[in-house]
């Protein structure tokens, strides 16, 4: 067995997210967004990051608002409930960040190309669109069999993928369930993977269901125990979306001053996900808990 990769969030972000690196985060689109990890990136005042994602949650908007970001390679940046991402809008309009526009399919293929170890993949999407004008990772390629024109999507290989999972062992063998978004290709394409997990469990519990394992453990560089680490997004098996946070964020991010105030309260004044959960309090959090449980039927991996 390899040695344990368990570390606290401070160490994981400090070690694997360095200034100027590229980070795939929020790859599940709307669920399991690694807010705790993102907030630690903001606290550590990382700079010149490239953020990579599909439809990205308000976490992108927050990290951009904190001044950590230089470039975005994503399909959509905003608030999945209310629409506009104000920090994103400001940063682009003021020329502070560059955006390479993707669609959900092209960003998925870019990471898939990285995961597969090819330098591009073809697709029939985006043809005729202006995504080609704002994304140098899109060109054209002709199929050698049909002579049909395809979009060619350049591989993206992030320096690190950050993924929030339900349960992991000490070595990065983890179970993930729910809609998967582009998480699998993000893990496989990235040079390093940080897993933040609701629970740390035994290897035995994980390997009793190897089809549910997210990615090979040897790809994982750090494992962080982060219960409530996806709040306010929904975490299948653990808690529902905290809609109020998304609705309130619309106002809280409308101006730089309001956002600074929000960040002081919810990021800078907080040292860890554990303190974050304490601040919210049990009574508050319990309202988000799963109340209508629905368990999968076990399957047998015996011999």
């Amino acid at each position: 067995m390899t040695t344990s990769k368990l570390m606290d969030m401070t160490d994981a972000i400090s070690r694997w997210v360095v200034d100027g690196c590229s980070v795939a985060i929020g790859a599940n689109l709307e669920t399991a967004i690694p807010f705790a990890a993102g907030h630690e990136i903001m606290r550590q005042e990382k700079r010149r990051l490239t953020l990579i994602g599909p439809i990205s949650d308000i976490l992108f908007d927050q990290i951009i608002g904190a001044g950590c970001v230089q470039r975005v390679q994503a399909a959509w940046v905003g608030n999945v409930i209310t629409g506009v991402g104000y920090n994103f809008r400001r940063a682009v309009e003021q020329g502070q960040i560059n955006v390479e526009d993707h669609s959900n399919l092209t960003i998925s293929m870019a990471l898939q190309a990285g995961a597969m170890g090819v330098s591009f993949l073809p697709s029939r999407t985006a043809l005729g669109s202006d995504l080609f004008a704002t994304n140098p990772g899109l060109k054209f390629v002709t199929c050698p069999f049909t002579s049909q024109k395809h979009a060619a999507i350049a591989a993206i290989v992030p320096d690190v993928a950050i993924v929030h999972v339900q349960r992991s062992d000490l070595f990065g063998n983890a179970h993930a369930w729910g809609n998967m978004g582009i998480t699998r290709e993000a893990c496989l394409s990235s040079r390093n993977v940080i897993l933040t997990a609701e629970e740390i469990v035994s290897t035995e519990m994980i390997t009793r269901d190897p089809n549910r394992i997210l990615t090979p453990g040897f790809k994982v560089s750090a494992v962080v125990h982060a219960p409530w680490g996806a709040h306010p997004s929904p975490m299948p098996g653990y808690y529902n979306r905290d809609h109020a946070v998304f609705l309130d964020y619309q106002t809280q991010s409308r101006t730089p001053e309001l956002f600074a105030s929000w960040m002081n309260q919810w990021v800078r004044s907080i040292s860890s996900i554990h303190q974050y959960a304490e601040t919210l309090g049990d009574a508050y959090l319990s309202r988000l808990s799963i109340t209508h449980h629905d368990y999968s039927e076990p399957v047998d991996y015996g011999y």
């Binding site: 994103f88 669609s103 399919l105 998925s108 005729g128 809609n179 998967m180 629905d294």
Partner: protein, 257 residues
């Protein structure tokens, strides 16, 4: 048809959207109003419709509880497949999706949609969230339906940026850029409903919402609006449509105004 006397414009639009879905169709369901349109259709007249969501979800039943967005857990519960975004996009690219719904910030008379930026890509006036899956849906579904607020600044002769291709600059354009199928089949706005002329691929007003006139539509449209010879009035939402819709949006978050 039985109708409620009181309904919102959004409720009318959702009801109209829901009628675009035929039973048994595979529907790529977008965010916001389309989500509700699919739920109403599935409940009332398309029980065998299948919903595909870009998060990596396929459902052939409606969500068990009201949801604000497709990633809310009741929309995952007892779904027909939880998979990767690329799985859902593969179904789309393969041609297995009949219809999709998308919204936009700007649209032009050939149904090109912009949700990325206003101004130009080198001199951005306003940055918008971007494509999400909209570009893919507009390129790859057999048809797509556009849902928009009808304002003159949004209905412009030529969009600033094509996020989601419609018919480009007219007939033959999609084929010429390499698109192998699809195109917008309808635009449902806050004022009426448009179809597309098969010959010219231009938007044609086919239906006015109650209380709206052709003049009012022209006033809010920055090109000379073509009017169908069979212009009709958009049917009111039925009582059943409204009660179904309100069951899925009980607090009127999406349709309350």
């Amino acid at each position: 048809m039985d109708t409620d006397s009181v309904y919102t414009r959004s409720e009318l639009m959702v009801a109209a959207a829901s009628r675009q879905i035929a039973d048994g169709e595979v529907v790529f369901v977008g965010m916001r109003l389309p989500l509700l349109g699919f739920l109403v259709a599935k409940s009332l007249r398309a029980p065998n419709a299948v919903g595909v969501y870009e998060l990596g979800i396929i459902r052939d039943t409606v969500a068990s509880e009201p949801i604000l967005t497709m990633g809310d857990l009741p929309n995952l519960y007892r779904s027909q497949w939880l998979a990767d975004t690329r799985d859902t996009m593969s179904l789309l690219q393969q041609g297995l999706v009949d219809v999709s719904f998308i919204g936009g910030a700007q649209v032009d008379r050939f149904g090109n949609l912009n949700t990325t930026l206003t101004g130009s890509s080198v001199n951005i006036t306003t940055r918008l969230p971007g494509s999400g899956g909209a570009c893919d849906l507009a390129c790859l579904a057999h048809r797509h339906i556009i849902i928009m607020a009808h304002e003159r600044r949004r209905f412009m002769p030529r969009v600033d940026y094509i996020t989601s291709p419609g018919y480009g600059d007219g007939k033959g354009w999609r084929e010429s850029v390499g698109l192998i199928r699809g195109g917008p089949s309808a635009v449902i706005t806050t004022m009426g409903i448009f179809a597309f002329d098969h010959e010219t691929c231009e938007m044609v007003l086919t239906s006015l919402h109650p209380g709206v006139t052709v003049e009012m539509v022209q006033e809010q449209t920055d090109w000379p609006v073509r009017i169908s010879t069979e212009l009709s009035q958009t049917p009111l939402p039925t009582h059943q449509e409204l009660s179904t819709l309100r069951r899925f949006d009980p607090n009127g978050y999406w349709t309350g105004k």
